[in-house]
Symmetry: C2
Subunit: 245 residues, 2 copies
């Protein structure tokens, strides 16, 4: 069973400052736990309720620690509390091995958007994402949940985007998504492409827009004025076009 102190630690990880302090985070749900166990993340412990264990005894080779339903609910940061979750060590990337197609995210604020974006990048084989320091944290429970396990495969790196773009190898072309520019279906992406995606409310800041080599946009077919697409949706169309050939 789970001790009081252990439970206190697990609960504290709903908050970013304790995740940072302990360098630990929680992965909720069977599918995501399966993915993290397959990955090179260090899993410290896997907790499951008695009913889950009785139904799924031999699913994982990793030893399971039984937790009460009430305690599992106390740990969960999500709306529906999980029957199984893992306690995992953070990996902070000190550098990034840049894939030939990559995304640069400026100040994405919504955890669900970031998670969905990571899941989409994984689907399209985009292995690296560089985030501004103000982008929401990867280890936020809602981000981890929305990735559906893809956080184990896509590499994220948080840094000063201005500095990062300045130091990009010369053979990378930097694209940026705007409400104007070249229609995305007509863009012939370079073999090494980095696509900058802006914040949900403000788009790409002026200080970063000057670093963009080519402005691109997703044409609307609406007959009336619409402000924008959801950022995870716009990024999905970018990933699709970027990796089509």
């Amino acid at each position: 069973m789970v001790s009081k102190n252990e439970l206190k630690l697990l609960r504290s990880l709903r908050q970013k400052k304790y995740r940072r302090e302990h360098q630990l985070f929680i992965v909720e749900g069977k599918k995501s736990v399966a993915e993290v166990l397959k990955s090179d993340f260090q899993v410290k412990n896997v907790y499951a309720t008695a009913s889950w264990i009785s139904k799924n005894e031999s699913v994982f080779s990793f030893p399971l620690t039984e937790i009460s339903v009430a305690d599992a609910e106390r740990v969960s940061a999500l709306q529906t509390s999980p029957e199984i979750f893992a306690l995992v060590e953070m990996k902070e990337n000190k550098a990034i091995e840049l894939s030939s197609k990559c995304l640069l995210l400026e100040d994405i604020k919504d955890a669900g958007n970031l998670g969905t974006l990571i899941r989409t990048a994984d689907w399209f084989g985009i292995q690296s994402i560089v985030c501004s320091e103000q982008t929401v944290e990867l280890y936020n429970p809602k981000t981890i949940q929305a990735t559906m396990g893809s956080f184990t495969r896509v590499q994220l790196f948080y840094t000063d985007l201005n500095e990062f773009i300045k130091q990009l190898p010369e053979d990378y072309v930097v694209y940026g998504t705007f409400l104007e520019g070249k229609a995305i279906q007509n863009v012939d992406f370079a073999s090494k492409s980095a696509v900058l995606i802006g914040n949900e409310s403000n788009g790409i800041s002026s200080s970063l827009s000057v670093c963009v080599d080519e402005k691109i946009y997703i044409p609307t077919k609406a007959t009336h004025k619409i402000d924008s697409l959801n950022v995870a949706v716009a990024s999905a169309i970018v990933c699709y076009e970027l990796t089509k050939k």
Copy 2:
């Protein structure tokens, strides 16, 4: 100011059964309120906090009812409570005027996914969406929020999808998104196209898959096995390809 009874009504609208009973729903936030005031929805009242009114007095011609911050928080179903929201009459579509490109949704369960899907359809000029009866309700506050006002322009119709597809005019081709079929970039969509999108966990049911004329899929570029894309993301790529020409 807002009476106790009025507040009780407003609060009750966080629940589907009271929305149905009163045929009323809440639209939160400045942008969405602006959109609903421009639309043919009947707005019964617009509530705003004193500080919002002092900053935005002349933004809307519609008369504003002042509400305290505490009461506004009690009404809101969202994480951040709004400074302005509208009380609006539901419109139940008894029939649908089908646009030449349309979506058919089978049992979409997540309110945020449905809202994002509506916003995306609007961007790509897709004016009608037919939903199975088990699809999450349009008037759920999270759906309305995620549409960013697009619910005023895209027509939704809830019905038995099996029956609906049987009665579709003969010149419509029914496509369905699966994990196999023709790669979407190679699909030459008919001038009248209806694309069926399946449930988040189970995809398209077997009873509906037999109604599909052509199976399509979004190819993955991942070198490992991934289960699926988020449904709002997959639908976005469908909307993009469907309306590209």
